[in-house]
């Protein structure tokens, strides 16, 4: 049938991803958990892929099309000649994973719910000591170390701060990349952001290493779309919260890292 990208404003951001980030998505789409090529994958048969791989940026639309195609029912696709929009796949995946969202929610909000669900599963695996350290890393002073309290603290942190959401998304995307590629991603926007991994790097990051075993991928139809959707959601969150341009304090010239705060972290002067 051949891959045919369906214009999708929610997948357009993939064209700006570097080859490293796209490589993870390609591997998720092309290979199963045992490293065997998927029977249904079509990407490797495409001329552009054969000609330019591993320069995935050259055919990012085919990668997106492959995802859209996996997202739909194969038989339906024959008639549609195109896959399913991201919005639809995401909602389908969230339904399968019991992620709560309402019909009118924006894609970006549903994605955050999906990632929170993954985070909840990671927290489930953490010991009480790990939860205590994790909450301390989040600067939350509490004696309530239950899983629910930890989950609530995590959700509050990532919803309340773009900087935290970035850290969280980077850990999720990085963990997926490490499992597939054996190394992490280059998601940092500038030198100052290297310290961004902060709160989610410790016990949370360690517990997240077994990410796939925490998620039920038993349904054949979701073996591709669940991990790929989680990865795309994490990539978008990381992209949304990274700093594109370097911003300096008018008073002390320090680089402004956290845009959630109105004052310079170095001298306390308002930088806007």
């Amino acid at each position: 049938m051949g891959l045919n990208y369906r214009e999708d404003k929610h997948l357009d951001f993939l064209k700006d991803q570097d080859n490293g980030n796209l490589d993870v998505l390609v591997k998720l789409l092309m290979y199963d958990k045992d490293g065997e090529k998927r029977y249904a994958e079509e990407l490797s048969g495409c001329e552009q892929y054969r000609e330019h791989k591993p320069n995935h940026q050259k055919y990012w639309h085919l990668i997106a099309a492959e995802y859209q195609t996996f997202g739909g029912n194969s038989i339906v696709n024959i008639f549609r000649s195109q896959g399913v929009p991201y919005d639809e796949i995401l909602r389908d995946v969230c339904g399968e994973m019991d992620v709560k969202f309402s019909e009118n929610d924006r894609v970006v909000d549903i994605e955050l719910e999906l990632l929170s669900k993954v985070g909840a599963k990671v927290i489930e695996e953490m010991s009480i000591e790990e939860r205590e350290r994790f909450l301390k890393d989040l600067n939350i002073d509490t004696t309530n170390l239950t899983k629910q309290a930890t989950l609530l603290a995590m959700q509050t942190a990532i919803r309340g701060s773009g900087f935290m959401a970035y850290q969280f998304a980077v850990i999720i995307a990085n963990t997926i990349a490490k499992q597939l590629l054996g190394h992490g991603l280059k998601l940092v926007a500038n030198a100052g952001m290297v310290r961004a991994i902060g709160a989610f790097a410790g016990p949370f990051g360690l517990a997240a290493t077994g990410i796939w075993s925490l998620i039920d991928l038993s349904g054949a139809a979701y073996r591709v779309t669940i991990p790929a959707s989680i990865y795309i959601a994490a990539l978008r969150q990381a992209e949304l919260n990274k700093n594109y341009f370097e911003m300096k304090c008018p008073n002390c010239d320090a680089i402004i890292l956290d845009r959630d705060i109105d004052t310079c972290q170095q001298c306390g002067e308002e930088y806007r």
């Binding site: 700006d16 341009f245 370097e246 300096k248 008018p250 010239d253």
Partner: protein, 285 residues
Amino acid sequence: MNEVHILDFEKLDFEILKKIETGVYNVFNGVVRDEKGAIVKEIPTKVLELTKKELENLPSCIAKGQGTVIAATAISTTIILGAIVVATKIIVNKLDEIQKGINAIEKELQDQNQFQYFLQLKNYVAASESLRELLNSPECIEENRDLIALKLNEVSIQRHGLMLTFRERLHNVEKVSLAHKEEIVTFLENSIALLPKIAYVESEGAKAIGRYKLSKTINEQFSPAYRRIENNYILFLEDELNKSIKGESDLSKNIINNIKQKAKIEFEINNSLLYTREKSKSLSL
């Protein structure tokens, strides 16, 4: 009641008609205008007597695009026609015409906005170029110290004006139409690119006539003020980029790509020109 005035294209020269047909000239408000909006010719009008038969044939006339004036008048005569279908067709056609009118007005307003922004930038650049001309050679500086001082004052006023407009436009950018927003983005982009370069010329100009204190003041006051507006601009740009990542941007892809490619380079160049504490320390050594 049934007498209406319509545009009489037959009285126009063949050459003008040909250019209207090919899209070189536009007709707006009863006037033929060229590509730049300049008036070429006012179109004469003629009186049209509407017979009952013509009124009955109105829908087909409208469908063939035969004059909005007829349609407008006919709305008041629909009672005579007594047919709902005719009224509906008239309204549909009228709505199209109104939309066309709105588009035309919007276009004119955009042009006005563009003109205003362009004018402010032009005045600033012109004043700075005039200053630069005077700084051309040591002899020229020596001869025109008084003029340079005057020019410095003029450039400074223009700079402050531009920075105020910048802040005001950035503050209100979400309250305007999409087309206007794109104009503002272009204006902001141009301003952010020009300001540090011209402020640098200003500061050098002050030095050239021995006004070192003024030169230092320009540097010390401009740099943090510029940083603040640059930071606000960066926050705005990143917000727009984030909207595009979310699939929610209303700006065109061209503008978004432009932001990504050009802004970064521009900020780097500006950084090298701005007066920072580190530079200030090294200069005083």
